[in-house]
Every structure is written in C-alpha cells, then in structure tokens.
Amino acid sequence: MRAHGVLSGFPAAGTSDHVCWVYDDDAAFGAAVREFLIGGLERGERLLCVGERVIDSLRGQLPPFGDIDALIADGTLETLTLAQAYEAAGPFGPANLLGYYDSATRRALDAGFRGLRVIAEVTALAADPSVRPELVRWEHVADDYIAQGTGFTAMCAYSGELTREALADVAAVHPLVHGPDGVPSFRVFFDDDRLVLAGSVDTFGADRLARVLATSPVAGDGAVLDLSLAEFVDVTACRVLAQWARDLQDRDLDVEVRNASPLLRRMWRILALDEFVPVQFAGAAA
C-alpha cells in the first residue's frame, strides 16, 4: 500500500505522496516546505510551488535553496501565485485542475525529471465555505491521479487557524496527514485500483464520508473499498456505505468491500443492508 498515516514528523519522500500538512506558524510552515521540496530534489523531480506564502518561504532558505533564481533558471523550480494558478488552469474545479497538472507533470517528465512535486498553500480556499466542497473534490480526484503512479506528488498546506470542520474536510481526502489531535477522524484515499477507508467514522463524521464518496471517481465496472485500515465504523457510517453502493448500483456500477471486520459484516446482516443493496464482501473477515 502507498504511504499513509497520521504524521508526527516529516516522512521520507515517496513516489505517490499526497500530504496534508497543517501548520501552526511561519517557522513550522517554512520547515515543512523545505523538507518536502528537498525530498523532491533528491529524487530528481521538478518542484512547483503554488501560493504566495510558499514562494515567500523559499526566500532565505538554507542550501540547497540558497540560489532560488538558479533553480528557477534551470527549470527545476517553478512558482505560481494563486492568481497565476487560476489563470493557468481556468475556473476552479477538478476537471480543469486535473488537466493542468497532468500537462505539467508530462512536461516535467519530458524535460527529464522523475516527476512533478507540487506544494500548494490553499488555506484561503478551505476557509471559504462556498469553495471548500470543490476543493475537497479536487483533492480527492488529485489523490486518484497521484495513486496511479503518474509522477505527480503533492503537499497541501493549511493553516491551523482554520476551523476543525474545515480542516477535517480537507484532511479526510489525504493518505498522509499532519494535523491537530483527532483531525481528521478518518481518511479516504486511493491505492492501486481501490479506495481505502482508514480511521474511525461515527455518526458525527458520516456526512463527511458521504460527501467524499458521492464525488469519488469510479473507473471500470465498479468500485472496490478496502476497510483493512478502518478502526471503527458505526451504524450511520455503515448506512452511508450502503447508500453509496446503492447510488453506484443505480449507475450500473458494482461495489466490492474488502477486508471488512467480522463485526461490520455482522452489523450489515443485522441491519439487512444486503437486502438494501447487493455488495460483494471479500477478504479477511470470517
């Protein structure tokens, strides 16, 4: 499985990193930017910094970022203000952004880099309740793209001054999260051909899970949901999974659930959810 988990320190750079990094202050933010980009440099990736705050933090960094202009000049480092990013990608939305970053990744690969490592500071988008749902959708679509081994990796930085609700919304769609204690309670991310649910989902997080699943990209004949990292799933969350499967069934798409715990499968039977929607269970549980 690709790198995943709740982070206390900075992880070694990998091929399919998608990190949500919640920072408290300028110093912590600068350190995270530095660590993430150094990993990219060591791996021979092109670096793309999005957002004024990221660009500002590059100035005054110690080597190897001492000569930012040289890195920019040789094509290793690119920067985009948020305004430039919007202009380049078009109206904010998953389709436009995916198209833009896919092109940027291909350009990086064509130029001889091993991939494109993007760091974006997008607190302003998460803070706006009217934009946040599209941001979350984009983060989830981007995770699918990253998980496919395209060479695209990303760190999404958010200020810890955002509300816990906003932080939980955005953090929940990353495999790797550094955030406040208990945020998010669960994460949904892609791994190979499947969707992975990690952590705990109870009644108070079930709506968030429903929103993520409702916009989750599904390829081929259906979706596979892996619950091997799910620590706790309550009745309402079970119901959300069943409703998601039902909605996909309405689109002639099947759902396979892998590695569900014996308790979840017992719960599924007790609630007669197998009568509500046919779901194929596979793996682990007896």
């Binding site: 706790f232 309550d234 007790i270 509500f276």
Partner: protein, 318 residues
C-alpha cells in the same frame, strides 16, 4: 376485553391472543402443547415454535410426522436478549400475513436457568408483546411457563403480562392481567449496583473518548476481543443517542457483577415508545438503528425511561 366464548378450542382468532400456559413436568408440557400445535396445523396455520433446546426436542419428537410441518426456533438463541424476540415474531408475522397465511406461535422466553435480570426483561417483553401486536393481524401466541422450576415471582408475573392463562385442562382470561402495566414496567428503576462503579459525564465532543474508555474497561474485565468490539460499538451508539436525543450530554457508568460486566448510559431524555429498538428498522429509514443494533449484538439490554430520564444498561456475560 377477552370474553369466555372467544376462548373455545378450535375457534379462529379475530385478534392477537397472548396466552400463558402453566405446566408441571414434561407430560403436562406436552399435554398443553400438542393440541395447540396440531389444532394450528389442522386450521392450516403457519405454526412456529420457539423453545429452548431440550423442550424443543421433546415437542418435536412427540409430534412425530407432524413435526415436519412446524418451524422450530431455538429460544436460547433468538431470545438470548429478550428484546430481540418481538422483532422475530414481527418479521415472521409479516412474512406469512403477506402470503395470506395465519400465524400460530409458541414462545417460552422465561425458561428455567435464566438469571434474575433476564427474567426481568422477559416480563417486560411479555408486556410489550401486547402493545406490539394488539392492533395488528389476528394470531395466537402461547407462552409456556414451567411451574415446577421457575421462581414463583416469574410465574406470578406471567399472570399480569398475559390476557389469557391456561393449563392443559382449561383456558380462561387472566384476572390479573394489567394492560397498562407496561408504562410502569418501562419506567421502573433498575437495581442499583452493589459493587464499585466507574462513571463519567460526556458531551458532544466526547463520543470517541467514551467508546475508547468503555473498550478499555471491557478489556480490563477480561472480555474477549469480540465482546470488546461489540461494547465499543454499543457505547458509541448509545452515547450518540444521548447527545442527539437525550439532552446533549449523558453519563456512562461501568461496574462488575457476578459473572457479568455492566455498562450503563443515562441521560435526561425521555423515550416515549417502549418498543424502541425492538423492530428491525425499515431499509429506507435514515435513523433509529442504534438501539436495535445494540439489542441484536449485546447479551442483555435493559432500557428504562420516564419523564425523569432514560437509562440503558448493557450486560455482557463473562
């Protein structure tokens, strides 16, 4: 009001008839049950017998070839928590009513060997059966009570919970039947714990911590990992109910009793329907699954509620 002419043998019921059969010994058990079952088969009723295994096998053997037409359920299994039984009857009744068949049932929830807390829930269950089925399709349910082996309080209680009482010799209205007894029984205070109690208050942000605390306690009590997971889930559902429907906060208390670990959730809410959690929720319903699931998963669940508040006690046998 049940009147005598409605109780004649062979008469087709016009309403739900809930009857306690008092018996002494195996022969008397069969003398009461065999005519009831065979009459049902002759009337082309669907006959379902829910008995603990020794009694179930005794009846099956005595029925001979007729046993093949009877559906047998192990009461020790479906009724391990008596709060599950009404759901079984409701599903069975619904299935056969839809198919145009009439149901005739035998159910012995209060069988010898059960613990006092189980007998208390059996009594509440018997009362709730009347509320659950009085306004529905006509069918008969016969509940055997073993006068030789059950505590006197249990057999006496059956006179209050069944509109009809019978023996192998006669069948009459029960003069002790208390149709309104369910309100008092549902509002009753449960026995206080006699040993040390761990307790704490929780609010809206404390659900994960509350379920973790209950899981840790369950592990310390030596419960199996499966039991721990079930209690963790039950804790989450019941604490959530307190937040959502019980005034926004609640209290969790945990203690040990002989052979059992007990977890109790209390809040200031009022559950006005004593049948809460006893019927399987409709497939398309959004909520209302928590107590039902807890009833299905846990060994024994005692729900009591009044205008003073609600307590739900979950007992796990060790």
């Amino acid at each position: 009001m049940t009147v005598l002419h409605e109780l004649a043998p062979g008469r087709i019921p016009v309403r739900f008839e809930h009857e306690a059969l008092f018996y002494r010994g195996e022969d008397d058990f069969l003398a009461g049950l065999l005519p009831f079952v065979r009459e049902g088969l002759e009337l082309d009723d669907v006959v379902v017998v829910a008995e603990p295994r020794p009694r179930l096998e005794l009846l099956r053997d005595a029925l001979g070839d007729d046993a093949g037409a009877v559906q047998f359920l192990d009461m020790a299994e479906i009724g391990v928590n008596p709060a599950r039984i009404i759901g079984v009857w409701a599903t069975t009744l619904d299935e056969h009513t839809r198919a145009g068949r009439r149901l005739r049932g035998v159910g012995e929830p209060a069988f010898s060997g059960r613990r006092p807390a189980e007998f208390a829930e059996c009594e509440l269950h018997e009362l709730l059966l009347n509320r659950a089925f009085d306004d529905g399709p006509a069918w008969r349910l016969l509940c055997p009570y073993d006068e030789d082996r059950l505590p006197r309080a249990v057999t006496r209680g059956a006179l209050h919970t069944h509109p009809i009482r019978s023996t192998s010799a006669d069948r009459v209205p029960s003069s002790h039947y208390a149709a309104d007894g369910v309100a008092d029984a549902f509002a009753a205070t449960l026995p206080r714990p006699t040993d040390a109690v761990l307790s704490g208050v929780f609010g809206p942000d404390d659900i994960p911590a509350t379920r973790r605390t209950v899981a840790q306690y369950a592990r310390r009590c030596g419960l199996s990992e499966e039991q721990v997971e079930v209690l963790e889930l039950a804790a989450s559902e019941l604490a959530t109910n307190s937040i959502r429907h019980g005034g926004g906060s609640g209290t969790v208390a945990m203690w040990l009793e002989a052979g059992a670990a007990v977890v109790e959730f209390s809040d200031s809410g009022h559950v006005t329907d004593p049948l809460t959690g006893r019927f399987r929720p409709p497939l398309d319903s959004v909520g209302g699954r928590g107590v039902y699931l807890v009833n299905q998963l846990c060994d024994l669940v005692q729900l009591r509620s009044s205008a003073r508040g609600t307590s739900i006690r979950v007992i796990t046998w060790r």
